[in-house]
């Protein structure tokens, strides 16, 4: 039995990255009970590619954190590349990290050997289909860094409320343009 149909292609599943991210946005809204919000910022990369930056917002305090971005060619939603935020945690806070026991001489030898070798580089964050994108999105939202960012947004809630007591007063006075209108939300994705 032959099978010439490309694996992973489902003609009924044509969702663009933006549409899939909007689904994620709706899920966040319901799963967090409105405490956290996913914001999609549409932008353009320096190379001219379409880029969607994904931020999390803590609704009560209006504080935000950038989580990752999704990049694709104009008018060509796939392949799409997910770009996780650079890991800024020190190694002792990471559940796992790479280490090397090479001393400097073996390291130099290893570099020279690598220069002579052709190597396939797998980019685990590039996806070709909507199905793959959903799969990787689940994975990226479960990265330790992302979870930490989300928890940090929530955990500073009490301190933020204390500090914010002044802010709330300002908001009441809508005529004061210098005050942060923290309960007004910008119209973003």
């Amino acid at each position: 039995m032959t099978n010439y149909w490309p694996e992973g292609i489902d003609l009924t599943d044509k969702q663009s990255p933006l549409e899939i991210l909007r689904d994620a946005q709706a899920e966040w809204e319901s799963s967090s009970g409105g405490v956290l919000e996913l914001i999609l910022q549409e932008a353009e990369s320096q190379a001219g590619y379409d880029m969607i930056i994904i931020h999390a917002r803590h609704t009560a305090s209006n504080r935000t954190a950038s989580l990752f971005s999704v990049v694709s060619r104009k008018e060509n939603p796939y392949p799409t590349r997910l770009q996780p935020k650079e890991n800024e945690l020190p190694n002792f806070f990471k559940k796992s990290h790479k280490t090397s026991n090479l001393n400097s001489l073996t390291a130099i030898n290893s570099v020279i050997r690598q220069l002579n070798e052709e190597k396939w580089v797998n980019n685990e964050w590039v996806v070709d289909t909507p199905g793959e994108l959903r799969e990787k999105l689940e994975k990226i939202f479960n990265l330790g860094d992302i979870k930490s960012e989300i928890l940090n947004l929530i955990s500073t809630d009490v301190a933020q409320n204390d500090v914010d007591s002044g802010t709330r007063e300002d908001v009441k006075d809508a005529s004061d343009s210098d005050s942060p209108p923290s309960d007004e939300k910008a119209e973003l994705g």
Binding site: Q46, N62, T64, S66, P180
Partner: protein, 270 residues
């Protein structure tokens, strides 16, 4: 008010930090690449300078450590981004945003990548500005770019101009889009004919084709220009010099970067 920013190059310079805090009477100290845990530096600042110092809460503490003297300044992190941390800064009760920046390094990233980083900061700031409905932004940090590098002055980058007068117009139009103008006072300190050192870092290797570079900078959005009092490259920490015998940053006893101090007025100068 006075804000001191210093890339301490992963060295324990707590004593010098305290000397700077005392000598400048800084309201806010931001340390970048500090290998000393913030609670230790804080303890030292509280003991040697003022018990009022505190560390505002933030998730990006590994990159930027902030020590604030007055709770009124707030300094809460309102956005944690890609190598930037944006804080709520209240100057005499007026809300502004202070964006702390640490650009990608010159050794591992070429000119185009650093320019691309500047554009990504600009994109993030656009988001923050919309979220907080404010364009009162001050940026401070080690940008790993000189004031004349494209990323610093491209419209879609940081759009930072050489003189105050250049930024007064407010915005610059490029490809049918308006971009907020910034003023970069660090231009005034480049080269021999300015007061003090010719930059904040000295390097003649592949990374430093000009000898001196002005990688540590403070830039201000047009909407906070009236608060600008001045900027200084610090060469002393109290009685201690931060320069070596040749007048370059003393990377043995201090850091290879010199600190930058931004002075802001409490009330706008109309």
């Amino acid at each position: 008010m006075r804000i001191v920013y210093w890339n301490v190059n992963r060295t324990d310079l707590s004593s010098l930090v305290c000397s700077i805090a005392s000598a400048t009477n800084a309201d806010l100290i931001v340390l970048n690449e500090n290998s000393v845990p913030s609670f230790i530096t804080l303890e030292k600042l509280q003991q040697e300078v003022s018990p009022e110092f505190f560390v505002p809460r933030a998730s990006t503490e590994k990159r930027f450590q902030c020590f604030c003297r007055h709770p009124d300044l707030d300094m809460t992190e309102v956005h944690s981004g890609f190598r930037i941390s944006v804080r709520s800064l209240r100057i005499s009760g007026t809300f502004s945003l202070l964006a702390l920046v640490h650009g990608v390094d010159i050794q591992n990233y070429d000119t185009e990548e650093r320019q691309s980083f500047a554009q990504s900061i600009a994109t993030e700031l656009e988001f923050v500005k919309q979220n907080w409905k404010s364009n009162r932004i001050i940026l401070m940090g080690d940008f790993n770019m000189n004031p004349f590098d494209r990323g610093m002055n491209l419209a879609a980058g940081l759009n930072a101009m050489m003189t105050k007068a250049c930024a007064v117009a407010g915005t610059r139009r490029h490809l049918d889009k308006d971009y907020d103008l910034y003023y970069n006072p660090m231009w005034s300190y480049l080269g021999d004919l300015s007061e003090g050192p010719a930059g904040t870092i000295y390097d003649t290797s592949r990374r430093g084709p000009y000898g001196w570079s002005m990688l540590d900078q403070a830039i201000l959005s047009h909407s906070v220009l009236s608060l600008f009092e001045g900027v200084k490259i610090l060469t002393t920490a109290g009685a201690n010099s931060l320069l070596d015998g040749k007048g370059r940053p003393d990377s043995v006893n201090a850091s290879n970067h010199l600190p930058v101090m931004l002075e802001l007025r409490d009330k706008p100068n109309d």
